[in-house]
């Protein structure tokens, strides 16, 4: 690891101000950032690491104004065990419990999980070996390279630092994203409140729409109506210390309102709108669940190497629906 300056932020304001300076990066649990620093993956090495853990009051878990409010600095381990979270949003607790490894879950945070950079092996290759579009380069190397873990719903197009449009097929594998998406959570930042569906984005060295200096402070989940059933399933090649290749969150609200969210399949987590529409108002049957699985991959454009993900999505959606 190369040298950098370090700031223990005492307040959101101090952190935001520091992070508006070029070359500053935020660190909560460090689960994502430390690996990036060790491998020196970026074009420029950060000059300043701003420690957010020293900011008080950002790790609460409470029900407030009809919403389950989760502080951005909540540890994943705490989320997985918290009785309120387990009662109100069990699939969020389940997702937290399956993330990373036991040791990492006691260090890493909700905010960090949602803001993590892509795991694309071209993006993550040490010493910026592949200067890809997400770092300001011209190309997405995965598009023509080995993309077995990449998007099956095509690339994200975004504006690069040269002002031109660039594409990227890295996926978002945030463990907690599908559950929060299915529960229609909102993300509170130091500057605004966003529906979680609008929070994720694809940009230069970023997996969110956060502006420089803007920090996630809280995630709020509207309390699901009584009778809501929900389930979370992740599929990874290894049972621990592995990112989900595909993760699926399913919620069935009273009145047969279905919400299905997918992670690991596209540059940002997505709702399976076609599947939800197919199911809306209907009683679930095995045949309908299978059709919903098919509909969940409607519009997919897999590559030769990652078409298996479609089968995984179909199966996981079907099974999780039937499990409820």
């Amino acid at each position: 690891m190369r040298p950098f300056n370090h700031l223990n932020a005492a307040s959101l304001e101090e952190a935001s101000a520091a992070l508006r300076e070029p070359g500053a990066v935020a660190m909560a649990g460090g689960g994502d950032l430390l690996g990036a620093l060790k491998d020196d993956i970026a074009r420029e090495y950060p000059r300043l690491v701003v420690n957010l853990k020293t900011i008080p009051g950002l790790d609460g878990i409470e029900i407030r104004d009809g919403k389950l409010c989760l502080g951005a600095l909540c540890l994943l381990g705490d989320l997985s065990r918290n009785e309120t979270v387990r009662a109100v949003a069990p699939m969020v607790a389940d997702a937290a419990a399956k993330c990373a490894s036991p040791a990492l879950r006691e260090n890493t945070t909700l905010g960090g999980n949602l803001c993590q950079l892509p795991r694309c092996w071209y993006f993550r290759k040490l010493l910026n070996r592949f200067d890809c579009a997400r770092k300001g380069g011209e190309r997405c190397f995965a598009m023509t390279g080995d993309n077995r873990y990449h998007s099956v719903f095509g690339p994200a197009v975004f504006e690069g630092c040269d002002g031109k449009k660039h594409a990227c097929i890295a996926v978002n594998q945030a463990e907690l994203a599908p559950g929060l998406l299915a529960l229609e959570a909102e993300v509170v930042t130091s500057a605004r409140t966003l529906p979680i569906g609008e929070f994720f984005g694809v940009g230069l060295m970023s997996a969110t729409v956060l502006e420089p200096g803007e920090l996630v402070t809280e995630v709020r989940i509207p309390l699901p109506p009584a009778g809501t059933r929900m389930a979370y399933k992740r599929f990874s090649f290894r049972k621990s210390i592995d990112f989900p290749v595909v993760n699926v969150a399913v919620a069935i609200l009273p009145g047969n309102e279905y919400r299905i969210a997918l992670g690991g399949v596209a540059p940002i987590p997505r709702r399976a709108a076609a599947a939800e529409a197919l199911l809306a108002g209907k009683e679930l049957t095995p045949e309908l669940a299978a059709k919903a699985g098919e509909a969940a991959v409607e519009g997919a454009k897999p590559t030769e190497a990652n078409a298996y993900k479609l089968q995984l999505v179909k199966t996981l959606v079907k099974r999780e629906l039937l499990a409820l």
Partner: protein
């Protein structure tokens, strides 16, 4: 072939050997962090060095501009490949690979050390300096796809300097005393190089005759991907120079981090034994990888350049991804009778030759003791097409050596499927007996292992794709056999000393986690009539004894040497005890010259004495004894060196058999997700005789873990466009976690038929396999999946990917 040629080889009464849970002598140090490994050593005032690594699959350094790097405060030097300082280095006599130039100008795989070494006041500054270098690389053609690399029109990736001596490699292999030729890189009759391809063709028997006997031909492919060596501790060293009171100031090398290879450091730096000091003997576990890396060798040179200041050089994890298994594609043709007996074997292998200097153990030389020679069939053709590549470097050997057992495992399954026979029965019909390939009845070890394995597995073979579990998943089983190997081709050494009433066992280690020293201590205690803890193991880097035997394959042969040495020491102790007991009284005085009482042993000869339960006793009257600690006032030393009895493994290379093992696997396959779960993995080895049960069971766990990882998850992946490795870390290169694999079910047999110590044989190499789980998946699904059987591959094989799975 039991242990009949040495002392007490047929011993029946064991007090120490075979006991479970005797403590490891260094376990406390290893478990608590007291033990220091190469990466742990620091010295006050030390400098740091890092080696430039090639970012391309194949490239040559044209120039390096170090101006900006040297301008960084704290960056002290940049030593380039052509610096004359490297000419001072002598050759490393043991290094596993050739190094035409110590620090190469041309790198043959991504991540190879090349070009220069930077020296700075901190590791972070070294990284800064490496980044600040302006390196001009000439990017050269590369091969990371050996299928494409065999194209004769593909540009040749090895220059004339590397191929200059190739013609001399076309020669017969080493001839064994039993008349077999081994380890030939190329036979004189092999076709000569074409592009990046060389050949190695070996024909046994008369293949035409074999094909005439066949009723049908079986044709299939066995594909094995590249796997890497997961060395737990990256290679690292720290070194400095000190004064020698004999040779003068600055003449003595202090180096830590190169355990077990002090002789290499001595040779490279032209130093004698007293001029190289290295106290730390711990090294991270390696598998048959005996060589040092540059980071372990070069620090004395750099320290010298920096005026004697200590220099530390550590590889990172990502820099420690050497090959453990080269990619291999075996296209098999077998002649088979309607009874399931194989009459002809034709193995057409396409194999990765690795980067220059790679061990041929990864390409051709393993096949001389493969599974084919365990068959009654003697008509065998092995045609190896060897492709030079830029995939990586195979240092010495691999756990999977020899590779081609698995083409037999697959064959038995296919024959079983075709004829509706249990594969165990197919194996029984094809496996020859102990004395030769003409011997019709399988060795008792095999039958005993089968019987227990079947019970443990509740073995019920079924045709492929015909059984589902209650939860809907497909169910599959598989079976394989192998020889229990033993290293009797290495000469071993042992020294034991009786000094001041205690037996000392001095050793230079290395302490690498295989607990062979503990095994040897148990053997010595057994033979000396002592307890395990009575023997003092003295770790001393200057000692000659080295645990280079490795795991059980070596321990059982090396243990035989220790057994003989212990008996030699015992004889000398008894002779000395008898001599002292029978001295005239005036020569044997007590305190203040009062006559000592007569020894209880007085009158007995050495032949009439024994050592029992920590006492030297008169055999005819055990009430007459002296404590072992007072057996003699003399210091008594015994040494024993040489070879243990030749094992079947290296006498017939499969053509004769003694101890064998069977492995069994049961899987469940989810045909909607492609997920494979190993329900049971069972191993029944006949190890002849257990020396230290704890080590043996651990080694079985290790080799099976390794095997499971390589069949389910592990795969070395490179970018097709650049040849750069994409998963050079343990997040993307997945070794299993304990949640991914079940506990290994094992029952160990002791038929005493190996001829290592007490009839022991090893278990490691041939329990490693590439296709037992794959074969069980085939039995479950009816389709073949190339390893690793990741869900994408399984789904693709099942036809459940709309476009296709990964390559």
């Amino acid at each position: 072939m039991p242990d009949t040629t040495g002392a007490n080889g047929l011993r029946e009464d064991f007090r120490v050997v075979g006991k479970a849970n005797l403590p490891g002598l260094t376990s406390y140090a290893m478990a608590t962090g007291v033990a220091k490994y190469g990466t742990d050593f620091t010295v006050p005032g030390m400098l740091f060095a890092k080696i430039l690594r090639c970012p391309h699959a194949h490239a040559r350094v044209l120039s390096i501009d170090e101006t900006a790097a040297l301008a960084i405060p704290g960056v002290l030097d940049v030593v380039k490949w052509d610096d004359p300082i490297f000419d001072e280095l002598g050759a490393n006599p043991i290094n596993g690979g050739n190094r035409p130039k110590y620090l190469p100008q041309e790198a043959h795989y991504e991540g190879q050390e090349a070009g220069c070494i930077v020296i700075a006041e901190s590791e972070a500054l070294c990284e800064e300096a490496l980044k600040a270098l302006k390196v001009e690389w000439e990017i050269l053609p590369f091969i990371t796809d050996i299928q494409k690399g065999q194209d004769p029109d593909y540009p040749q990736i090895r220059g004339p300097e590397l191929l200059a001596g190739e013609e001399s490699e076309y020669r017969p292999g080493m001839a064994t005393s039993d008349g077999y030729q081994l380890m030939s890189k190329h036979y004189p009759t092999d076709p000569r190089r074409e592009g990046n391809v060389t050949w190695n063709i070996k024909v046994d028997g008369d293949p035409d005759e074999g094909w005439k006997k066949a009723d049908f031909t079986l044709e299939y492919d066995v594909n094995i991907p590249t796997c890497i060596s997961t060395i737990p501790n990256p290679p690292a060293s720290v070194a400095y120079w000190g004064d020698s009171m004999y040779k003068g100031p600055g003449q003595k090398i202090y180096i830590e981090g190169a355990p077990h290879r002090r002789e290499s450091i001595m040779a490279m730096y032209h130093k004698s034994s007293d001029e190289v000091v290295q106290e730390g003997l711990f090294q991270g576990g390696k598998y048959c990888d005996w060589g040092l890396r540059i980071s372990q060798e070069v620090t004395p040179l750099l320290s010298k350049r920096m005026g004697g200041r200590p220099v530390r050089c550590c590889n990172t994890r990502e820099e420690t991804f050497d090959l453990n298994r080269n990619e291999r594609h075996m296209h098999m043709r077998l002649g088979v009778t309607k009874d399931g007996v194989i009459t002809a074997v034709e193995d057409n292998t396409l194999v990765d030759n690795g980067a220059p200097g790679s061990s041929t153990m990864g390409s051709v030389s393993d096949r001389d003791w493969g599974g084919y020679y365990t068959l009654k069939c003697k008509d065998i053709t092995q045609r190896f097409k060897v492709v030079d590549s830029n995939i990586g470097y195979m240092h010495t050997c691999a756990q999977f050596v020899p590779y081609n057992w698995d083409s037999i495992t697959v064959a038995f399954d296919l024959i079983a499927e075709k004829l509706g026979l249990d594969p165990v029965e197919v194996a029984r019909r094809n496996l020859h007996g102990p004395s030769s390939q003409d011997d019709p009845n399988p060795v008792p070890s095999f039958e005993a292992s089968l019987e227990i394995g079947k019970k443990l597995m509740d073995w019920q073979w079924h045709p492929a794709g015909t059984k589902r579990l209650p939860d809907g998943r497909l169910h599959g089983v598989s079976f394989r056999y192998a020889i229990c190997p033993r290293h009797s081709f290495m000469d071993y050494f042992c020294k034991l000393e009786y000094r001041d009433g205690v037996v000392h066992f001095p050793t230079q280690g290395p302490i690498a986690g295989w607990f062979s020293t503990e095994c040897f201590t148990m053997i010595a205690a057994e033979e000396l009539g002592l307890n395990y803890e009575d023997i003092s193991v003295d770790y001393d880097y200057r000692e000659k004894h080295s645990d280079q035997a490795g795991g059980s394959d070596g321990v059982t042969g090396h243990g035989w040497i220790v057994k003989e040495c212990a008996n030699k020491l015992k004889r000398k102790i008894l002779e000395s005890a008898a001599r002292e007991a029978n001295r005239p009284d005036d020569a044997y005085r007590g305190v203040f010259s009062f006559p000592a009482p007569p020894s209880p042993l007085k009158g007995a000869t050495a032949d009439e004495l024994d050592i029992v339960d920590g006492k030297v006793v008169v055999k005819a009257d055990p009430s007459r004894f002296v404590p072992f600690s007072r057996a003699t006032k003399e210091n008594v030393t015994a040494e024993y060196g040489g070879y243990s009895p030749k094992s079947a493994w290296v006498t017939g290379f499969g053509r004769i058999l003694d101890t064998m093992n069977t492995s069994w696997c049961e899987v469940a396959v989810d045909d909607e997700t492609g997920e494979v779960e190993i329900l049971k993995y069972c191993v029944v080895p006949d190890v002849g005789k257990i020396i230290r049960r704890t080590s043996l069971e651990s080694q079985i766990d290790q080799v099976v873990f390794f095997t499971q990882g390589c069949q389910l998850l592990e795969e070395f992946i490179q970018d097709p466009e650049t040849g750069v490795k994409l998963n050079g870390n343990f997040l993307d290169y997945r070794v299993p976690t304990t949640l991914d694999v079940p506990e290994v079910t094992k029952e160990i047999l002791e038929l005493r038929s190996g001829n290592g110590a007490y009839g022991a044989s090893g278990i490691s190499h041939n329990l490693a396999n590439s296709h037992l789980i794959i074969t069980a998946i085939h039995n479950a699904t009816g389709v073949w999946v190339d390893p690793p059987a990741t869900p994408d591959r399984v789904l693709k094989a099942l036809g459940k990917c709309e476009i296709g799975g990964s390559k």
